[in-house]
């Protein structure tokens, strides 16, 4: 696999050149935080960031997307017939995605792509996307990727990985998609042994910098109903205000709602992110709600991530350790502490 080295200026130039092959998304500074935006003349990529406030999941799985369209005009022969909408699956590259966020796509995949059913939109968008990761030289204090199967330079789910060596970027292709990306990238030179060694050292050092460790080893063997009936849920849930911040910022939360919207005779079926924190999520037409109380919804979120997912897919926990929910929960509900409680029960 190709390994190249670019000065930082060359790299920005190379990205501009790649625009004729891909829609390039890069981290840019947007007020107080970073966010992924399409690269254009006005956007300056800023690779000097800890992580974006919102996860890049929306690039594969938008918060709102039109899935079908139809006409209600009875004068047309296909009135009321629901039809697929045109979608843009042209190649996309997310450059600078953190390894935890790339790992997250792998965690989410079995939900949208399983032997019984395949979600056409998620899969086609994912497959048309090249993920070029940027290793974390200085992981944050709320990062715990190493506890959940990832790492600051983990290659899981990435097509290529960037190492920030100071004045230069070392980039390694990891898959055929990554190889194609590098083939199209102008400039740079083949990485020498010194650069490769520097990259390795950087990765080793970064892994040691992750101070946060959470234990997930006992979750698998616990009995679902015992964890469900554990005594700590009331305390865990008390402060929760039941907003959707944790679920919307989370790179591994995938729940959605489907809504029909009509404007005159033109109708759209739209899929929107939804959240298990909202009471409406499970409200039956009859008025009955199996998760009517806040504590039930909070428990659902943690049980889903740390137990149901574990049992269902045998693929670890449904968490990539990015720490967004920890940092941004308005009520300071900390998944690290809840996981500890669950693992210890």
């Amino acid at each position: 696999m190709t390994e190249k080295i670019y000065t930082k200026e060359e790299w920005i130039k190379a990205l501009s050149g790649l625009k004729s092959f891909y829609n390039i998304f890069v981290p840019v500074r947007d007020g107080d935080f970073h966010t992924f935006k399409a690269l254009d003349e006005k956007k300056i990529p800023d690779f000097n960031f800890q992580n974006t406030r919102l996860s890049p999941k929306s690039l594969v799985y938008p918060q709102s997307e039109r899935i079908f369209a139809y006409t209600l005009d009875e004068d047309t022969p296909d009135a009321n017939i629901i039809k697929e909408s045109e979608k843009d699956y042209s190649p996309k590259a997310v450059v600078g995605i953190r390894p935890c966020d790339a790992h997250a796509f792998q965690i989410v995949r079995p939900n949208f792509d399983n032997p019984e059913y395949q979600d056409p939109w998620w899969i086609q968008r994912y497959e048309s996307t090249t993920l070029v990761g940027l290793g974390c030289n200085a992981p944050g204090s709320t990062c715990f990727c190493t506890s959940v199967g990832g790492g600051p330079f983990s290659e899981k789910g990435l097509d290529a990985l960037l190492y920030d060596l100071g004045d230069t970027f070392l980039i390694k292709a990891l898959t055929e998609k990554g190889e194609a990306f590098l083939e199209n990238a102008q400039g740079g030179k083949e990485a020498d042994d010194a650069a490769l060694k520097a990259g390795e050292d950087l990765a080793a050092k970064a892994a040691n910098k992750i101070e946060q460790k959470i234990s997930i080893d006992k979750l698998k063997d616990k009995v679902q109903t015992e964890l469900f009936d554990a005594p700590f849920w009331d305390d865990v849930a008390f402060a929760c205000i039941n907003c959707g911040t944790c679920t919307y910022l989370c790179p591994t939360c995938w729940c959605f709602d489907i809504q029909d919207e009509v404007l005159e005779k033109q109708g759209d079926r739209i899929r929107n992110w939804d959240s298990c924190m909202f009471p409406l999520f499970t409200l039956h037409g009859s008025g009955h709600n199996p998760r009517a109380k806040k504590v039930q919804r909070v428990r659902q979120r943690f049980m889903h991530k740390l137990k149901y997912y574990v049992d269902k897919y045998n693929n670890g926990v449904q968490c990539s350790g990015c720490g967004r929910c920890v940092r941004n929960c308005p009520a300071n509900i900390d998944i690290r502490e809840v996981c500890e409680l669950m693992n210890r029960l």
């Binding site: 079908f68 139809y70 009321n80 979600d119 056409p120 469900f228 009936d229 999520f281 499970t282 037409g285």
Partner: protein
């Protein structure tokens, strides 16, 4: 790639008002593209999403049997946005059906056994499908005795009245129709709640499997009756209802523990449910 969210276009072929309160109607649908009927190959116990452009979708148990060709039927209770709109539609209108979805009653397990069917109110739909299926000449010999306890609030609230009368006449099925109460002097059948009638009529669990569908309160009181007769939790089969959207285990709302009611259910044995979180 097959799109599991895309409904098959169908035309409403026939609408029957089932109950005296007019809140339950049976809709018979015909596929606009005959090929779709082949693709929509189902087994009794499954459900489908009824899909109305501009309104949304509603998951409803399939009331017809795969042995009935040329159409599929659903009996729909008027509760929410979609079902209310459906009740206002007319024969000839075009809409969509997406499915079949979910699992089905354990037909392989039931083969060679006695089958006890217990239903209450408007949850009788997939049980109708099952009865029609079992009584079909090709299938009848696969099952031993078939007993049915079916109850509603009063005679006017029973579904499929003509078929019930017809089944009453047959000698290859034991029917126990009941109502909670009635002031009709000509009422020929039982009066009493479903659990009570079950206790009177279902006296043996030998070599039998029971399928129970009905409102939660009926299930709650029928369960101990069946256990007392000797049905083990493995042989009590229930069909659950949950709020659903996608119907294919992706949207995340209908889970009980790590099981999705839409994909891993809606049919569960009591033994399974006892090992799942009590959240439904």
């Amino acid at each position: 790639m097959e799109n599991p969210y895309l409904p098959y276009p169908v035309r409403i072929d026939k609408i029957i008002t089932e109950t005296e309160d007019r809140n339950l109607k049976t809709f018979r649908f015909v596929f606009l593209n005959p090929k779709d009927e082949e693709k929509f190959s189902y087994t009794p116990g499954q459900f489908a999403e009824l899909s109305i452009a501009g309104k949304g979708e509603s998951p409803i148990g399939i009331a017809s049997s795969p042995t009935e060709k040329g159409h599929i039927t659903f009996t729909v209770n008027k509760v929410g946005l979609v079902t209310t709109h459906l009740h206002n539609m007319k024969e000839g209108d075009v809409m969509g059906i997406r499915g079949p979805l979910g699992n089905w009653y354990p037909w392989e397990e039931m083969e060679g056994k006695n089958v006890v069917i217990i239903g209450g109110g408007f949850a009788f739909t997939t049980l109708r499908s099952s009865i029609i299926y079992m009584l079909h000449p090709e299938n009848r010999s696969r099952f031993k005795d078939i007993s049915v306890v079916y109850g509603a609030r009063n005679p006017g609230m029973l579904l499929y009245k003509d078929e019930l009368a017809e089944w009453e006449q047959r000698d290859d099925i034991h029917m126990h129709i009941t109502v909670d109460g009635t002031d009709d002097p000509d009422w020929k059948y039982n009066v009493g709640f479903v659990p009570t009638i079950t206790e009177q009529k279902i006296t043996s669990a030998d070599d039998a499997i029971a399928i129970v569908c009905g409102p939660p309160i009926m299930i709650k009181f029928t369960q101990p009756v069946l256990e007392k007769v000797g049905f083990s939790p493995e042989r009590i089969i229930l069909s659950l209802e949950m709020r659903m959207k996608c119907g294919i285990g992706m949207c995340g709302r209908c889970n009980i523990g790590d099981k999705f009611v839409c994909k891993d259910g809606p049919v569960f044995s009591l033994a399974q449910l006892k090992n799942m979180p009590q959240e439904y």
